[in-house]
């Protein structure tokens, strides 16, 4: 079978960009963004913080402190732009890579590390920050998000749901079902696809012969492609999409066109399937550097601002490192706590069995000792 791979030009009629890689502001007819220089400085700060958390987590994995880490390097603007567009009323449904969205939603990065350290099952309270659980299964959170959005609709709420997923997920049944369902019910949801070009080792060109944002048209709602490395454009586009959802005009698809600059996870070796030259090309489009260029060029920020942000980021990294290393092992029986909201007789039986097994040893269990919990 002959394979047809069509090139997917990043820029085209639908491509929204407000800040060029060189740090120049440009206008777009549909997406005007009224933003102060202080707000741009604050976005820059978030970008740097998020990148610093990510590099520290990667280092911790290499040092044996995390079992795995999925780096967001290169996708900071897509995540901070979308994360900052979300309000307290809105609910985010992430994959396992949305560390930047989590940061903007106020989730402590240490909480995320607990999952990758194996110290928690990822069980943070989604309602606390309007940030759902990390979802490892590819694309299934789009269905959860659609259901949640329909719930908002039925409750008469004024928020919206935003489902995060990658280019690979668009090939999944779940995502397409979510599109159908959300379109049918005009659900208040934004489908936010970070097209980072690679579904692990599978290039996006092999998954779709048309740009991903154009798929939305077939499901009956608008799609837009935004420069995913441009935090201003992502902010403007996702704000508009959220406003549309909240006012009852239904779903939309935002394709943030970006690049995963790191391996898929710390277990991956991208040199086996992609060219180093691609990475160099994308380095020139770095999401953090273009904001820094803008701030410097316009005299909005001086060296002391950048030094302050850098120092704050290092401080955050040190906090994340210390908290990660000191993280307590979970108490073995906590395994059974959150399987069902109402429990089950089978679980009770299994918990009793596990407790009896643990009690069959002399001395205290190390985990129990750490948590200062008595033996059972």
């Amino acid at each position: 079978m002959t394979e047809v791979l069509l090139p997917q030009p990043s820029e085209g009629p639908g491509f929204v960009q407000l800040l060029t890689p060189e740090g120049q502001r440009v206008e777009h007819p549909d997406y005007a963004l009224d933003i102060s220089d202080d707000e741009i400085k604050s976005l820059y700060r978030d970008l740097v913080m998020v990148r610093r958390i990510d590099t520290e987590a990667t280092a911790l994995q290499r040092q044996g402190q995390l079992g795995l880490w999925a780096s967001l390097l290169g996708q900071e603007a897509a995540q901070v732009g979308a994360g900052r567009a979300l309000t307290e009323r809105d609910f985010a449904f992430p994959t396992y890579r949305e560390h930047g969205v989590a940061y903007c939603k106020g989730v402590d990065p240490v909480t995320l590390l607990g999952l990758f350290r194996g110290a928690s099952q990822g069980g943070w309270d989604p309602n606390e920050n309007g940030f759902g659980l990390y979802t490892i299964v590819i694309g299934s959170q789009t269905l959860h998000a659609t259901g949640y959005a329909m719930g908002i609709q039925r409750d008469g709420g004024d928020g919206a749901a935003m489902a995060f997923f990658g280019d690979g997920a668009t090939s999944q049944g779940d995502v397409n079902e979510a599109f159908v369902w959300a379109g049918s019910f005009n659900a208040p949801i934004v489908f936010f696809c970070q097209n980072n070009q690679w579904a692990i080792s599978e290039p996006v060109e092999r998954q779709s012969h048309i740009p991903l944002y154009r798929r939305a048209e077939g499901f009956g709602f608008p799609g837009v492609r935004v420069d995913g490395n441009d935090v201003l454009a992502v902010l403007a586009v996702t704000r508009a999409a959220l406003a549309r959802a909240r006012e009852g005009s239904g779903p939309s698809l935002v394709e943030a066109y970006t690049y995963r600059m790191a391996p898929h996870t710390t277990s991956d070796d991208p040199s086996r399937y992609r060219l180093a030259a691609d990475l160099e090309t994308w380095k020139l489009k770095d999401p953090v550097e273009r904001v820094k260029a803008y701030l410097s060029r316009h005299g909005v920020a001086d060296a002391s601002f950048f030094a302050d942000v850098s120092a704050a980021a290092d401080e955050l990294a040190a906090h994340v490192r210390a908290a990660c290393i000191e993280m307590a092992d979970p108490e073995p029986l906590s395994l059974f706590d959150h399987v069902y909201a109402g429990g089950s007789s089978l679980l009770d039986e299994e918990r009793a069995g596990m407790a009896a097994y643990l009690a069959s040893f002399e001395g205290e269990s190390p985990a129990a000792a750490k948590l200062n919990v008595g033996a059972h």
Binding site: R62, R117, D269, D329, F361
Partner: protein, 451 residues
Amino acid sequence: MATKDFLLPDLGEGLTEAEILHWLVAEGDTVTLNQPIVEVETAKAAVEIPSPYAGVVTTLHHAEGATVDVGLPLISFEVGGGDATATADAPAIQGGDLVPSAPKVDTEEKIEVLVGSGPKAGKLTRRPRKQAAGAATSMPIRAAEPADVHVLAKPPVRKLARDLGVDLRGVGGSGPNGTVTRADVQAAAGAGGAVGAAPAYAASARARPDFDSATREQRIPIKGVRKATATAMVQSAFTAPHVTEWVTVDVTETMNLARRLRNYPDFTGVKVSPLLLVARALILAVRRHPMINSSWDDEAQEIVVKDYVNLGIAAATPRGLIVPNIKDAGSLSLPQLAGALDALVATAREGKTAPADMQRGTITITNVGVFGVDSGTPILNPGESAILCFGAVREQPWVHEGQIAVRQVTTLALSFDHRIVDGQLGSEFLAEIATMLNDPWRMVHFSASTL
């Protein structure tokens, strides 16, 4: 000041070792936290490890090129006083064995189960079981499952088994989850007629793997024969440009000859198999085409043509694939060759093949027919220029003397090193073996012509 050892962590979800590619620091260097210290390569990726400490490097525990087990010290640091950096020792990696068969008591030491796991356990410490724990616990103990007598096989395979009169319950399944495959049934059906089968191997290959109940996977360390096989195969496949040719041939007369030879007193006590006659034909063809029995000496930029035939026989053994060879097989009489083949197979099956028996081979036969398959594209034994693959002998409709007849037919495949052997030489060599097996009298003719 305090010395801190950094143990090699599991870098990728269940890895057991890593190879040191480059040290990026030297003993005596002062390093900062997260400064890259070493590049290592695991089975998954080549990665840089950032320093977990700020301090002075005191010891690099391994040289570049060394393979280090997870959990062993990689590098040691002299770390400045106080708590300049929040750091901790790398986690002690724990084995996954929950059944304390021989409890090692070390109640002083806390078990640091952090992240990662791997079969190369570090220091295993576990609390002892209380006495009579098993009797005291009220934990429900399920009776052991009865041995699974239900055989997994797809309907067409069941039908094939019925057609061939094979009882599926007696056939070990080599497919996923022990599923009995078509090849298993065919092998069982043909077991009486097939030659040189290696039952020990068959039993081990078909035994149900020891799956981990949690992951439903089994992890087998790559070592020993498997590692050697892999190295040899990769070296061969990526060094010698392989060409493979096939010929399908009517070997009815060879089968008849084997049957007749069995009654000769000289062959009492030895096995007269079609493989023996294939080996004989190959040796005779080598005499007529010596270039096929040669090796490529890259260092000397010479082709080494050999006057002796050290005939390798690929043998499936309990330890894996090995290729012992019969030294100077061309000097042996046919009964001697039969005896040598018997001895080679028996020694290999017992796992007692000496390293010397596997060295200095010049050409090889792989007898995949014993597994019921027709042919393959064999990979050269490193250092050799040709390998002959002998497929299953089947009764097939065949045009014989102008009529369709049921004949015993097999497929021969020859892979050769195209650096040394051109298409013409390879083709002539293979065709001549086929001719001899089609009409074994030709063996007399060919030997007379050269001796």
